[in-house]
């Protein structure tokens, strides 16, 4: 038995969890409560239900769930919560982190190896956290002749642009940050940012390999934007709207992939190319151009780019789900809550406090999120699998696919949707 990696034992695991809980409680009571008191003492608190929220009152509310719940519900309707937590960054980052972990384990299984194993005791579940800590603690090296402000800005811009995607995605009915009438156009607009950011990053590094990688990325992204946009036009023609929520609602009976499989395939391939994933990872081809436009990035700058690219992966998968797979639509599997929970509340054990309005989310919202997440994970799986199966393609073959084959197929898709529209099968007057 070696000291390096002791065998996993459930008892040790539970003990370590209990240890953590113990220290969290101790630290919170010793530091947290005085800190909250100090904060509440100095801050002007709002007026809620006609009475001023004094620190004393706030603390009593913290202890009284029936009075805390309205505050939480009010908070959940704010834009800040939406952007930071649920349909926004927190949810997306969680899915992206899960994607990285699943990618590593899945690829390892496909390649007959183990993958992350020791970190986190349970199948290496904390490996990602370890990698993140490593990236944060590493030194950031900037090339001497780089254009420093732009070089610094590029990773941040990349994450920002990737995060901007997330604001457009309707996760479940009503849960979308920016419910734009031109949602699809905004999506195209954000895609247009990435080539610019890539070229800025590669040019400002003032090095040969990033330059070649940046030029390749520019070629690839610009030429695959056209089939990407064209493949979505069929849906716009049939639904008559650019609003993503309305597109999802239009698929309540059947997803568009049934009528437009060609459009879905074109979009999927173009999506792989936009995401720079194998087999289209030419801008980062390590055997030709070191690491492409990422060559000079180090430390957390590289980490930010990776975070951005996985957010982008989630966003593209979500857009695919929204446009082709029916978004949140799915059979209702959540049982309806009993009516008395909502009106009268539930008894909370020995304290016997009645809390009305406990379910913070409606069953429709939970159901929609469930189906959306399941579908998104399925699409992500199909984005990940090619990495284990295909080699990298060459730039001229890539451009050939983009300009000759995919654009033609996208036009075929548009004609199919037009014929569906004018023959009256779908669209206004048809099945819709």
């Amino acid at each position: 038995m070696s000291i390096i990696a002791p065998r996993f034992r459930l008892g040790y695991f539970i003990k370590s969890l209990l240890d953590n809980v113990f220290w969290i409680i101790i630290l919170l009571t010793l530091i947290g409560i005085p800190a909250i008191q100090v904060v509440l003492f100095f801050i002007d608190l709002p007026v809620i239900e006609g009475e001023l929220l004094t620190p004393f009152l706030a603390l009593t509310w913290l202890a009284d769930p029936s009075r805390t719940l309205p505050i939480i519900k009010a908070l959940m309707q704010t834009d800040f919560f939406k952007i930071a937590v649920f349909p926004g960054f927190g949810f997306a980052a969680l899915l992206a982190a899960g994607t990285i972990f699943i990618e590593r384990k899945l690829l390892a299984k496909l390649q007959l190896r183990v993958g992350p194993f020791y970190c986190g005791k349970l199948e290496g579940i904390l490996q990602l956290m370890g990698d993140g800590l490593k990236l944060i603690s590493k030194e950031i090296i900037i090339p001497a002749k780089a254009d420093k402000p732009i070089f610094w800005a590029a990773p941040l811009l990349f994450v920002g642009a990737a995060a901007a995607f997330i604001s457009l995605i309707p996760v479940s009915p009503g849960w979308v940050i920016a419910d734009l009438d031109v949602g699809l156009l905004a999506f195209f607009a954000i895609i247009g940012f990435f080539p610019i950011i890539t070229v800025l990053a590669s040019w400002s590094a003032n090095s040969k390999f990033p330059f070649i990688g940046g030029i390749r990325a520019l070629h690839q992204m610009v030429s695959f934007e056209i089939p990407l946009i064209l493949s979505l036009l069929g849906i716009v023609i049939l639904t008559g709207t650019l609003n993503l929520s309305e597109i999802v609602e239009s698929q309540s009976n059947f997803p568009w992939i049934i009528f437009m499989p060609i459009g879905a395939i074109v979009f999927f391939i173009a999506m792989l190319a936009e995401l720079e994933r194998i087999p289209f990872d030419l801008p980062e081809a390590e055997s030709e151009i070191v690491a492409g436009w990422l060559t000079e990035f180090s430390g957390m700058m590289y980490g930010l780019v990776q975070l951005g690219s996985y957010l982008k992966l989630y966003a593209f998968a979500a857009i695919f789900v929204v446009l082709f797979l029916g978004g949140w639509n799915g059979p209702m599997i959540m049982p309806q809550f009993p009516q008395e929970i909502i009106t009268e509340g539930i008894e909370l054990g020995p304290i016997s406090v009645t809390i009305p309005g406990l379910p913070l989310f409606t069953p429709e919202m939970i159901n929609g999120t469930f189906w959306f997440t399941i579908k998104t994970i399925g699409v992500i799986f199909f984005i990940l699998i090619p990495r284990g199966v295909f080699p990298r393609i060459r730039i001229d073959l890539l451009l050939h696919i983009g300009w000759y084959k995919l654009i033609g197929l996208a036009f075929v898709n548009i004609f199919i949707s037009l014929s569906l529209l004018y023959s009256g099968v779908l669209g206004p007057g048809g099945m819709m």
């Binding site: 390649q111 194998i278 055997s287 030709e288 080699p391 730039i395 073959l397």
Partner: protein, 376 residues
Amino acid sequence: MSELPPGIKLEKEDDKIMTLNVGPQHPGSGHMRIIVKIDGDYIVSCDPDPGYVHRGEEKMAEYRNYITNIPHLERPVIHDSCNILYPYCLGVEEILGLEVPERAKYIRVIASELNRCVYTLYWLAIYGIFLGHSTMFMWPTGDRELLIDLLEKLSGARVTHAYFIPGGVRNDMPANFEDVCIRQINYFEKRIKQYDSIFYSNPILKSRTIKTGVLAQQDAISLGATGSVLRASGVDFDVRKKEPYDVYDNLDFQSNTLKSGDSYARSKIPWLDMLESCRIIRNALEKIPKSGSVRVKLKPNPKAGNVETYKRVESGRGSLGMYIISNGKPEPYRVKISVGSFRNLICLPYLLKGEKLGNMPAVYWSLNYWPVEADR
């Protein structure tokens, strides 16, 4: 060599031409540097610069006697160490006049075929990862373990075996080695056949490697290419067939030849050779004498007269020759190692001229080049 596209002129020095140092820090070259000049995406000229792992094996061999030369002569290709010792042992046996026992000859063949597979899998792994196919990196490195395990049972070391010795092999096969070997070789053959659907039949790989870096038959001959590079161009030359050493003339096998001479053919020949090696090993295990000596007794410090010999074998990278000159002293007067990697290197500038930059790894690694061996 492929035709240049219209509008591209070669050998012009102006601002449009960018010089890339591919290596030694660049991940795409191994222990060497390729100075590549590109015009847009097209390679204008290419100048290989080996020598980063030059250790002077030939000079070192002049200071050690015929036996103590063995451990360091296998260092250039530790993955193929049996095959690089093979011509040395054959040569020393000739100049010392040793007669190798029959059983030792068969054991040598088995060990060298196992080692050829070990090398080829390592090379295939690198070829795969440099085409961006990460599964093709992991599968061969994993399956290599089966053969390394066999070689470890046989010789006692996993990589640097030091197993061959002038006059035979160091030790006999362990008990029930035959059964284990047959079992693992059968499984190994099943495994490498699965590479076909994911790698060799993969349409994306085919689109990248077919008609890439085509070496015509006449060019391959005049450039003096050898091994898989030569046989992919349609020249049927295998030292095991043409100049059989030890017991290769008793064994049933064929040398694989493909006509097209492109990167795909060059990568497929070693794979076909591995399947052939499995046949050879099974065949040799059938024909091996069940008992007998495996080693003739050597004097501790053997001396030879004024003779010279040139022996060659077919290694994983083609014909591997050793030129040994003796002048009556315990040490050889001169040992020249002529390796397939070094001979194939001359094809690189020839093939890369006018290719696209994206084809560089596909062409370079298809040459079956091992920088450490080429530098010696």
